[in-house]
């Protein structure tokens, strides 16, 4: 039958199931009441130009929302999320759900602007966050949320003051400082070109003076405004008696600046304003990239926190009341409605139903729970009303602890950097000391202040951060570029170094080593088997096994026909039953067959799917989650590098063993909960192992956050990607191996560079100290040493990879 797009959401459906409206000039199709409602609302408000802007973008069908609007007007809610300004206006930060394109942003803003009582509404397209200001005397928050829901979106609040405000402020401040730095650097370089030319061909002092003054004017704001961050860092370091990278940058730049002023005023020697601005600007850009990646992580976190309910329905002496989650105590009876998210752990006391635990376990299959079963927060109640007894309070529940762990991971990450800083810190301390000693030695031995200062400055300039400072970032930059071309995104340069030093690789099973979708490995068919019926049956279910069978049928048979089945019933965790013209059709696991009185005499280490017509099994399928292509070779190669490989999985022992055997992993840890994976990694870290963890689901997020290097599969859950350090866009095990290779090669280049610059300094510094080098030669040799470092780093590009 012909498929037509829904007039509102653009999704394609069979024409027969659509709501159709005929008009003389047009025919409208809607996939649901929600879309129909939104369309007519927009039309009557004169906002139908939305559809022109939308183009071919597909939206989510407009959902009918639960009747929970009253909660937005509760006092506890107001206290938590609403900010009141001095002139009596209320302000809230919302995450808007369902935004797909800029047209959606336009529509939401437009509708909010038109609503009376709303004073200001801005929506950020990049992260779907909105800020709304309204007059509480004219409109209530529930009404605002209702307005957003009416046009087919949903909104929930988040607390911006937690992380976002701070992250935003830092980002803006860095951005302004970089702009200033880039402006200064670009202009000074133009002037410096004239100066270099003048140096070699001769230039009158009067012109030199003008250029010097121009450079001075440009360099001053860059040093003190853009470079403020380094001065602040150096100051805090000084207060804590630490010499860090900031000290080195700040002192190097400041001394070069002071010397240049001296050279400018006394008209003796060359000025180094260009080095001043370049040092500041380049190091600042590197720092900014870090700030950016942190901001992304904060955005996702707000999404998770915002979608958790703030109140739950508590049943007490036959009466129900909404209680803020902080006030729920152990032993309270909580009622869950279909579609609600669990925020407090507990045990079922009444009712039964299925739960979506995918955000915790990564398994897409719903889990059936009945009286006495444990409910974990983070799962979603799918189909029935359930009452359960709280066994923990909100702050100790699983969901809260996951969120807290992630928050910690975001704020605590840069630990390796501190190590790198401390090394260059010692270096800068030594250089500064040598320079000071040189100055006094020359001053007292020759008595000339000028000469002593010039020699001391030469020492600092010749050992200026460049050679040592470039050694690491230049190679890592090239390394990151090479990795990115292979679809490996390292979020920070320093991760390459940590990865190169890693000793243990922990792999998640489902979705990492395996494809994450089961496929048929063996089929036993009887002559009575009719694939048409089986296809009709499995198409009614979204279960991974059904999908696997569907894929198998479509590749094995051509021109399959679908039959309209009747009385389709899906039986939780067992299978599907249906009937067709009086015949009973069953498809599912052994438990379903036994329920219908059929005893299948077949067992396998794989998942089994039986298909029976009129109580006779006509087909048996063995399904297995296939191991990703090349996994065995990649793991073997990684082991050859001297890295221990282990598998961590939430799955049961048997299937874990099978996969481990197939790919050649000896050490496996099965049946692990998300926290247990993290604990395992923690234990290994305590044994001084540097752990790389590869995973894809939210269930891996804690372990990923705990590991030294976290690698996420590109199609994995948002949280997993955000806590990870490396993202694999090409989801092949080969790319994990490539990541190891690139990081080791890069680290080798770093070591070579460091060795070279150390050697260079060993030769150059004594020459400078003894007064054999003037500042210009010092600057030239510094540039030369930097060039060598750059050239050596470029060699990483020559790495060869298996296609």
């Amino acid at each position: 039958m012909a498929q037509v797009p829904c007039t509102h959401c653009n999704l394609n459906f069979d024409e027969s199931v659509m709501i159709t409206e005929e008009y003389p000039d047009k025919t409208l199709h809607f996939c649901c009441k929600g879309c129909q409602g939104v369309y007519h609302l927009l039309e009557s408000e004169g906002l139908d130009t939305f559809y022109d802007k939308l183009g071919d973008t597909k939206l989510q069908p407009a959902a009918q929302h639960l009747d929970d609007l009253h909660k937005f007007d509760l006092e506890g809610f107001k206290k938590k999320y609403i900010k009141e300004s001095e002139d009596g206006l209320y302000e809230i930060n919302l995450v808007i759900e369902g935004i797909h394109c800029s047209a959606c942003v336009w529509l939401n803003e437009k509708v909010l602007h038109k609503t009376d009582g709303i004073i200001d509404a801005t929506i950020n397209y990049s992260n779907n966050k909105a800020k709304v200001v309204w007059d509480p005397e004219e409109i209530q928050l529930s009404k605002i949320i209702e307005t957003i829901r009416n046009i087919g979106y949903n909104a929930y609040p988040y607390d911006a003051s937690l992380q976002e405000e701070r992250a935003n402020k830092t980002k803006k401040s860095y951005y302004s400082r970089i702009l200033m730095g880039v402006f200064g650097t670009m202009n000074i370089m133009w002037i410096a070109i004239a100066q270099y030319a003048g140096y070699f061909t001769g230039m009158e002092q009067r012109f030199k003076d003008i250029l010097n003054v121009a450079e001075f004017i440009l360099a001053t704001p860059v040093l003190f405004y853009s470079g403020w961050i380094f001065f602040r860092g150096a100051y805090y370091g000084f207060k804590n008696r630490l010499v860090n990278m900031d000290t080195l940058v700040a002192s190097g730049a400041l001394l070069a600046y002071i010397y240049s002023i001296y050279a400018m005023v006394t008209q003796s020697g060359e000025v180094y304003f260009d080095s001043v601005v370049m040092i500041i600007t380049f190091v600042l850009v590197g720092k900014y990239l870090e700030v950016l990646s942190k901001k992304h992580a904060v955005d996702t976190l707000d999404g998770i926190i915002g979608s958790t309910p703030t109140e739950v329905t508590v049943e007490e002496d036959q009466s129900k009341s909404l209680v803020s989650i902080e006030n729920v105590v152990v032993g309270d009876i909580i009622e869950l409605k279909p579609g609600e998210k669990v925020v407090i752990d507990g045990v079922v006391t009444h009712g039964e139903g299925s739960f979506d635990e995918s955000s915790l376990t990564g398994e897409s299959e719903p889990v059936f729970k009945q009286k006495g079963d444990e409910i974990r927060s983070g799962s979603i109640c799918l189909d029935s009303v359930i009452r359960y007894e709280a066994t923990k309070d909100a702050s100790h529940s699983l969901l809260t602890s996951i969120i807290n762990l992630l928050e910690d991971a975001i704020t605590k990450k840069p630990r390796i950097e501190q190590l790198a800083d401390s090394i260059s810190g010692y270096f800068s301390l030594v250089i500064l000391t040598i320079a000071v000693i040189t100055f006094f030695a020359w001053y007292f031995s020759s008595g000339g202040f000028e000469h002593a200062l010039i020699v001391a400055i030469s020492v600092i300039v010749i050992a200026c951060p460049c050679a040592l400072g470039l050694a690491t970032p230049m190679s890592t930059l090239v390394g990151i570029g090479v990795a990115a071309k292979r679809g490996l995104l390292f979020k920070e340069a320093t991760f390459l170094e940590t990865m190169a030093k890693s000793t243990l690789l922990a792999l998640d099973k489902t979705g990492t080593i395996t494809e994450g979708k089961p496929s048929v490995v063996n089929a036993i068919l009887s002559p009575n088997f009719q694939p048409d019926f089986l296809l009709s049956l499995v198409r009614t279910s979204n279960h991974p096994i059904s999908k696997g069978i569907e894929r198998y049928l479509l590749t094995q048979y051509e021109s399959l026909k679908e039959h309209p089945l009747e009385a389709i019933k899906s039986i939780e965790a067992k299978g599907i039953t249906a009937s067709y013209q009086g015949k009973s059709i069953l498809g599912g696991n052994a438990a379903l067959m036994e329920r219908s009185g059929i005893m299948p005499d077949f067992s396998s280490e794989h998942s089994l799917f039986f298909f029976a017509i009129d109580d006779e099994i006509v087909a048996t399928f063995e399904l297995s989650d296939t191991v990703r292509e090349g996994a065995k070779e990649a793991i073997e190669a990684i082991k050859k590098m001297g890295i221990r490989v282990v598998m961590l999985t939430g799955d049961h022992e048997q299937s874990a063993q099978r996969v481990a055997k197939a790919v050649g992993i000896e050490e496996i840890h099965a049946k692990l909960l998300p926290q247990e994976k993290a604990v395992y990694i923690q234990e290994r870290q305590a044994e001084k192992e540097v752990v790389v963890m590869v995973g894809d689901g939210i269930n891996d997020a804690i372990a990923l956050a705990q590991s030294n290097i976290a690698i996420a599969m590109g199609r994995g859950a948002d949280v997993a990607i955000n806590v990870s350090d490396v993202v694999l866009l090409k989801e092949t095990p080969q790319s994990i191996y490539d990541a190891f290779r690139i990081s080791r090669r890069t680290f080798k280049a770093v070591k070579e560079n460091l060795g070279f610059s150390l050697l260079y300094n060993l030769v150059a510094i004594p020459l400078a100290v003894t007064g054999h080098v003037n500042p210009l030669v010092a600057a030239l040799s510094m540039s030369l040493s930097s060039l060598i470092v750059v050239g050596n780093s470029m060699r990483i590009k020559m790495m060869r990879f298996k296609k």
Binding site: D120, Y175, L179, R206, F207, A214
Partner: protein
Amino acid sequence: MSENIMTLMLSVSTFLGALGLVALLWGVRTGQFDDQSKFIDAARYDNEEDLRDAAMMEEKKKAHKKKKAAQKKEYMPVD
């Protein structure tokens, strides 16, 4: 070439560049670049209607301020 011309050229060009920089910094400070995507989309979607919208929001803000001022006037503290 005299020093004066060189000084003039350098100072004029730096001044003009600085003006641009100040404008850019002002834009960053007032949050006009907070949303990269929207910034780019503005070129596609901005029209008189949006301008009217913006004017309407300004009106709303003014009206609220007026209302507040009126409320304040009505309120007479006891002596």
